[in-house]
């Protein structure tokens, strides 16, 4: 492999990785608070992409707006819409059975995923829909590698959103409450932390991140489909586990690492096997270091 090819694969891997980061942060936030792997995140990712397409087509009818502004507004509304859906779903599924065993919550989130995906397939888009994107034209030079504007946007948004989440978690009252609940929900409640509100807001935040990722990726691929969420799912999970479930920085490291690894791997293997590579990474990580790359604390043993 030539040095240039290597370099460009790494850059492209980082770009793909920033999607994994966004999705993985969503998983890891909810896991941290509830010890729940929320499969419904994957359908929220899809919803974000569809909201992007819908908003884009509405706004672009209004010709005065420059297309870049439309792009930003559409992606933003994808995030906001997905955040609201995340909040609403949590209020409808998690809240009524919050005292149920974890198993029931897991199954409920799985059913939500399937239901939303099937509804989108049935009513909105049995076949993939085109997603408009104004940034595909010009190529930008990023560290000597030519990438499209939307690639660059994805990377910038990935890093930016991570920074915002990091500030939110470490510097705000909500972040403090979130960390308190994640550490020990019983004592947090006893100390007066509004547990239900914190959990619901965490769902909203995780939903917004997933929705933003869905919108950006949809725009980058140029199409959105009902099953795009499930397809990204394994990558998001693997990124979260790779960095250490429940650890936000772990999700960042895990996402970028996975992006680069799978980008390098498909220079050797056919791209259809990308899932297989990710799965292989997951098996190895769980077998060798189940706490993830960053985490030093013990993982929840069985």
């Amino acid at each position: 492999m030539s040095l240039h090819l290597l370099e460009s694969e790494i850059v492209l891997g980082l770009i793909t990785g920033s999607t994994y980061v966004l999705v993985a942060i969503g998983f890891t936030l909810i896991y941290g608070v509830l010890r729940l792997i929320n499969f419904a995140q994957l359908s929220i990712y899809t919803i974000g992409a569809f909201v992007y397409v819908g908003t884009y087509s509405v706004l672009s009818a209004w010709h005065q707006l420059p297309s870049f502004v439309v792009y930003v507004l559409a992606a933003g509304s994808g995030a906001v819409g997905a955040g609201l859906v995340g909040f609403g779903l949590a209020a409808c599924t998690w809240f009524p059975i919050r005292k149920a065993p974890n198993f029931a919550l897991l199954v409920a989130s799985l059913a939500t995923l399937a239901l939303i995906q099937d509804l989108i397939e049935l009513f909105l888009a049995p076949i993939p829909r085109a997603a408009p994107n104004p940034l595909t034209g010009g190529l930008v030079n990023l560290l000597g590698v030519a990438v499209t504007g939307s690639d660059l946007a994805l990377l910038v948004v990935g890093v930016g959103a991570t920074g915002v989440v990091a500030l939110l978690v470490t510097r705000t009252r909500f972040g403090l409450a979130l960390r308190a609940v994640a550490d020990n929900s019983t004592s947090a409640r006893l100390m007066g932390v509004p547990y239900t509100r914190v959990v619901l807001l965490t769902f909203a935040l995780a939903g917004a991140l997933a929705g933003l990722a869905g919108a950006m990726v949809g725009a980058q691929y140029g199409e959105v489909s009902y099953d795009m969420g499930v397809n990204i799912g394994l990558f998001g999970f693997t990124a979260a586990v790779l960095g250490g479930m429940g650890n936000v920085w772990g999700a960042v490291v895990g996402g970028f690492t996975l992006g680069v690894v799978s980008s390098l791997a498909i220079t050797v293997l056919p791209s259809a096997w990308q899932d297989a590579i990710t799965f292989g990474v997951l098996i190895v990580v769980l077998a060798v270091r189940p706490t993830g790359i960053l985490s030093t604390r013990t993982v929840d043993r069985a």
Partner: protein, 616 residues
């Protein structure tokens, strides 16, 4: 307490109709349902009925993983695919016929299950969901992309199986084969549910710590569940390939795995009849609505699953607690499965005629210079003690003195890096340090917890039955130096559990759900569970906490009678009245160290002890 009151109100009412009639009705219904398609002898009906039978098998197989062992498997259909493809590949190439290819497929699935399960099952059970999701994807991708599987087109035209001269190549023969598999799966499921394995799954699903403290090898048994489930998926997949005469990736995508989970949840997680119903309902819905729009049936099924988990989490046919007869009066006094008459023991002095717990000779439990550290805190600091069977040793001390940690060190729930814990019988020593909680349960160390760790959704009877795990197979073998279990084999698990219940005076409450019991009775239930394992030593953590005076007196006499029958009791207790009444010797602990030890009266009069924590 891991489980909450979540499902309790729904399940209590189930205890009712006499078992035989219910069973007869169910079997009759099943037989009629099986015969109908044969009588109808219509290709369409037979085809659907075959699918229903195969899906019932899938649901039954996944149920062992999901409903019994409590592991979420999201890639179950991968085994279905392995079954179908293995048969198709091997028989297309004329390497072997259908029947031997089944064996090969089961072996391949088993290997896959072990590869997935070994790294994953040690972790929090949610990780299995991710791993199996990935596994399902991989098998699908492999089927789509490999040449050996025929890619997108799949494989077809492989020879049909034959039984003697009879070739399985007509709708009715497919159906009969599928029904045979269903009956086999049902029989095995019923047998396994009642077996030692099934009972162990029941407990480890609810509380893994409690399971290992009664001797269940949690990790290994979870792996068994996953492998057991894989077998049925594989068999069902092979028959599916026979019936369809083509295998292609379409039949094995992710949504199929989801639908099997949904079939189990809708039918009734953990319920054998529910699984059959779930499989039948799934095929019914997808045939009824699939003709209109394939996606519509998917939507309906996903919505139904969400609705059930929110509103009726136990499903259409809820799993029923395993109970026998009416409270307090088992039928079949002798010779039957329940060879004991459950007279309600009103007081503990109405002791059972032949003692349940009987340790051979003199056995001592020796703790030698044991220290336990948590980070910088030394919770237990070079503590030594000796307890003998047939006597009661009480540990007293203020909160944080290290009493519970010491019990955990003895029962194997915390790791001891310094010192030894040894069981010594007349001739030999058995080193416990370094062994896990499970191995120590086998060696005869029983345990009750400060707050009862019971399976709240199971009946008192089922909970106590868990305790017999150690005695009901292999227990005596694992005993090593201390063959306390040599007499254990003579009684059935049911007899032992019955005796234990009677001993603690819960005979009349055997069929209530453990979670419905008042606190004092929950503690008794936990003690009964431990007694049922016939431990040589029983470690009890504050058995009287939260009890009123009368209940505490009852516990005290229970402890005394256990000791009189030969059990060694090590007791953590704050109620000095109980300590005075039952203890043969007392150890006072403070800040992880032994402050005083000796006869109860001398220790309780000790100046240092009184000054330190009796508040005098």
């Amino acid at each position: 307490m891991i489980h909450t009151n979540w499902v309790r109100s729904r399940s209590t009412r189930i205890l009712g109709a006499p078992l035989p009639w219910r069973l007869i009705a169910l079997v009759a219904l099943f037989v009629v349902a099986c015969i109908y398609p044969v009588v109808a002898n219509n290709g369409f009906v037979l085809d659907i009925a075959t699918d229903m039978a195969l899906w019932a098998v899938l649901a039954l197989g996944l149920n062992a993983v999901l409903g019994w062992a409590g592991l979420l498997d999201l890639g179950y259909i991968a085994f279905f695919a392995i079954g179908g493809y293995t048969y198709a590949i091997l028989s297309t190439a004329h390497i072997m016929t259908f029947w031997p290819s089944l064996m090969v497929a089961i072996v391949i699935s088993g290997i896959a299950a072990v590869v997935i399960g070994v790294p994953t099952l040690r972790l929090h059970s949610d990780y299995l969901a991710i791993m199996t999701l990935g596994f399902g994807l991989i098998v699908y991708i492999a089927a789509e992309n490999l040449t050996i599987t025929g890619g997108d087109n799949g494989l077809f035209g492989y020879p049909a199986p034959s039984i003697g001269a009879f070739v399985v190549n007509s709708p009715i023969s497919y159906y009969l084969l599928a029904v045979a598999l269903t009956v086999l799966a049902l029989g095995v499921a019923i047998a396994v549910r009642r077996s030692r394995l099934g009972r162990a799954w029941n407990l480890l699903r609810v509380d893994e710590t409690a399971a290992s403290s009664v001797g269940v090898p949690v990790y290994r048994y979870k792996l068994y569940a996953y492998v057991f489930g894989s077998i049925w998926g594989t068999l069902s997949g092979a028959l599916f390939a026979v019936k369809e005469t083509i295998v292609s990736p379409v039949s094995f995508d992710w949504s199929q795995s989801f639908f099997v989970v949904a079939a189990v949840v809708i039918g009734g997680t953990g319920s054998i009849a529910g699984c059959v119903v779930g499989g039948v309902v799934y095929i019914f819905i997808s045939e009824a609505l699939g003709g209109v729009n394939a996606n519509l049936s998917a939507v309906v099924f996903a919505a139904a699953m969400l609705g059930f988990i929110l509103l009726r989490p136990r499903g259409l046919v809820p799993a029923r607690p395993q109970y026998r007869g009416k409270p307090g009066l088992w039928r079949r006094p002798s010779g039957g499965r329940l060879g004991f008459r459950g007279r309600t023991a009103t007081s503990v002095s109405a002791v059972v005629p032949s003692p349940l717990v009987r340790a051979p000779g003199i056995v001592t439990l020796r703790v030698e210079e044991v220290s336990v550290r948590f980070g910088g805190v030394i919770a237990v600091d070079r503590v030594s003690l000796t307890a003998a069977n047939g006597s009661v040793l009480a540990l007293i001390g203020a909160n944080g003195a290290g009493k519970t940690t010491l019990l955990n060190a003895v029962s194997g729930l915390v790791t001891v890096r310094q010192g030894r814990v040894v069981l010594r019988s007349d001739d030999s020593d058995l080193l416990l340090t370094g062994k896990g909680a499970r191995a120590r349960a086998y060696a005869g160390i029983g345990r009750t917890f400060q707050s009862p760790r019971l399976a709240n959704d199971l009946t008192v009877w089922e909970n106590v039955l868990q305790g017999t795990f150690v005695g009901s197979g292999g227990g005596a073998r694992a005993g090593g130096a201390v063959e306390a279990g040599s007499h254990r084999g003579s009684e059935s698990p049911y007899q032992k559990a019955g005796r234990a219940l009677e001993l603690v005076g819960l005979g009349s409450k055997a069929n209530l759900l453990a979670g419905d019991l008042p606190y004092g009775d929950q503690r008794r239930c936990e003690i009964a569970r431990s007694v049922a394992s016939a431990p040589t030593f029983m470690l009890m953590d504050e058995p009287s906490s939260g009890m009123n005076d009368v209940e505490a007196k009852g516990i005290a006499s229970l402890i005394r009678s256990l000791a009189d029958q030969g059990t060694g009791v090590v007791l953590v207790e704050h109620n000095m009245g109980i300590v005075r009444e039952v203890a043969d010797s007392v150890i006072a602990m403070d800040l992880g160290q032994v402050l005083a030890e000796g006869a109860p009266e001398s220790v309780l009069r000790d100046e240092a002890v009184r000054g330190r924590f009796l508040g005098e």
